[in-house]
């Protein structure tokens, strides 16, 4: 008798589990101790601001057990509103050369060149996710939520974009982003951690694409 009751309730139980999972994936779990600040004038921090022109970084790319090191040039092309990213070895051979545009007239990602050994769909997809997150510009229509830690003053700004949610943790002193996290459902796609900075671009940052386990580290150098 008891067995029969459970069997008849099982479909309802299943629907309940699916609904619970679905609801929990829609809500973003913000950092511990942070409290929602309502009616605040919220602006998303921009990593490479509008005055940025170009810079060079010492770069390490880790893919599974392989490591490539070299120099990355990031240049803003104002005419086309694009960022041009070239990562090459110390002896000058290019690993990849890509173009990203976030915002007007439309988001754009293009690989001009990628070395044969890196020319894999999952690597290209990871590079697209990572650099679109780095140069992200969300439409003004996107709703922003601000959370703040009452003691440290650190802020977390959350923005939803289609099925993805991005979280920007800001430095209480500079108000620049110190950690960016991109989530899809309950899984973290990629994170960007930045050392505190007050200039128009970060001197040091790390990108960790958790989905594909690809890591990129950047340290600015003067050529």
């Amino acid at each position: 008798m008891r067995r029969r009751k459970f069997t008849s309730l099982f479909p309802f139980f299943l629907v309940f589990i699916v609904l619970t999972m679905n609801l929990s994936s829609c809500s973003y779990k913000h950092y511990k101790g942070f409290q929602l600040v309502s009616d605040a004038d919220v602006h998303l921090p921009v990593i490479f601001d509008s005055t940025f022109n170009k810079t060079t970084y010492l770069t390490t790319l880790k893919v599974f057990n392989h490591e490539l090191s070299g120099i990355t040039i990031i240049k803003k092309v104002k005419k086309t509103n694009t960022f041009h990213v070239v990562f090459m070895s110390q002896i000058g051979l290019k690993y990849f050369d890509l173009v990203v545009r976030m915002g007007k007239p439309a988001d754009w990602f293009e690989i001009n060149y990628i070395m044969e050994s890196l020319n894999k769909e999952f690597i290209i997809k990871a590079l697209q996710t990572d650099f679109q997150l780095l140069f992200a510009k969300y439409p003004n229509t996107n709703e922003l939520q601000l959370y703040q830690h009452p003691e440290s003053g650190s802020k977390e700004i959350i923005v939803a974009n289609n099925k993805e949610v991005s979280s920007y943790l800001t430095d209480p002193v500079t108000q620049k982003a110190s950690l960016i996290e991109l989530r899809k459902g309950i899984s973290t796609q990629a994170t960007i951690s930045l050392v505190p900075y007050s200039t128009n671009h970060p001197p040091e940052f790390k990108i960790n694409n958790k989905k594909t386990r690809i890591q990129l580290e950047f340290k600015e150098i003067k050529m």
């Binding site: 040039i73 002896i91 051979l93 290019k94 060149y113 050529m223």
Partner: protein, 211 residues
């Protein structure tokens, strides 16, 4: 009077630029055999090379050229040290069949045979600096010259090299047949130009240089 001055300046500039073009223009080398004999003699007589180098990276997206500097060491048969001192401390060491990268204090060792990319890079380095392009089926070779240099143009045949480089140009100084410049041209017209200077030949090179 102003127009007269302007005309004179323009004339001087035209003469200077035509003179520069004349020295930079390369013609097809007629006596290839004679050049090959000279390279063979140079190659047979050269056991080691020590040199400073300046590397220019020309990218179509940048107006300015990215400059790196360092020291280069070659020891017969296949031992090579590329030591960058500016803008960063970095070295590529090819020694005893191993490919070692020293990035500041961190050492990474690779087996050349097990890594196709390093193997190709190593082959290109050795080919470029040792004149080892003779009878090398990996490249289509053509020969040029001007007043100061012989220029050997190498077009890669193998797809794995073609993917990285469309051409390699090796410039031999006519005075001593040593390699003065190497230009690595990539698909899409970006290129790397490495200029060698303060060259020393056949000086003893201690083994620890590569360790």
């Amino acid at each position: 009077m102003k127009i007269y001055n302007l005309l004179i300046i323009s004339l001087i500039l035209i003469v200077l630029s035509s003179f520069q073009n004349e020295t930079e223009v390369y013609h097809k080398l007629k006596d290839v055999d004679s050049f090959i004999s000279k390279v063979k003699i140079y190659s047979a007589e050269t056991f080691s090379i020590k040199s400073d180098f300046m590397q220019e990276k020309h990218l179509t997206i940048l107006e300015e050229v990215l400059i790196s500097e360092g020291h280069f060491t070659f020891q017969k048969e296949n031992n090579v040290l590329w030591e960058y001192t500016h803008p960063i401390d970095y070295a590529i060491i090819v020694y005893d069949g191993k490919f070692i990268i020293r990035d500041v204090d961190k050492l990474s060792e690779f087996n050349i045979e097990s890594n196709r990319m390093f193997k190709e890079i190593n082959n290109m380095i050795i080919t470029s600096v040792s004149g080892n392009f003779l009878n090398n089926s990996d490249f289509e070779v053509s020969y040029f010259e001007n007043n100061d240099f012989y220029m050997v143009n190498l077009i890669p045949v193998r797809p794995e090299v073609k993917d990285m480089l469309s051409e390699i140009e090796i410039y031999f100084d006519k005075k001593d047949i040593s390699v003065s410049k190497v230009k690595f041209i990539e698909p899409g017209d970006d290129f790397t130009l490495i200029k060698f200077f303060n060259k020393e030949f056949n000086q003893p090179i201690p083994e620890q240089v590569f360790n």
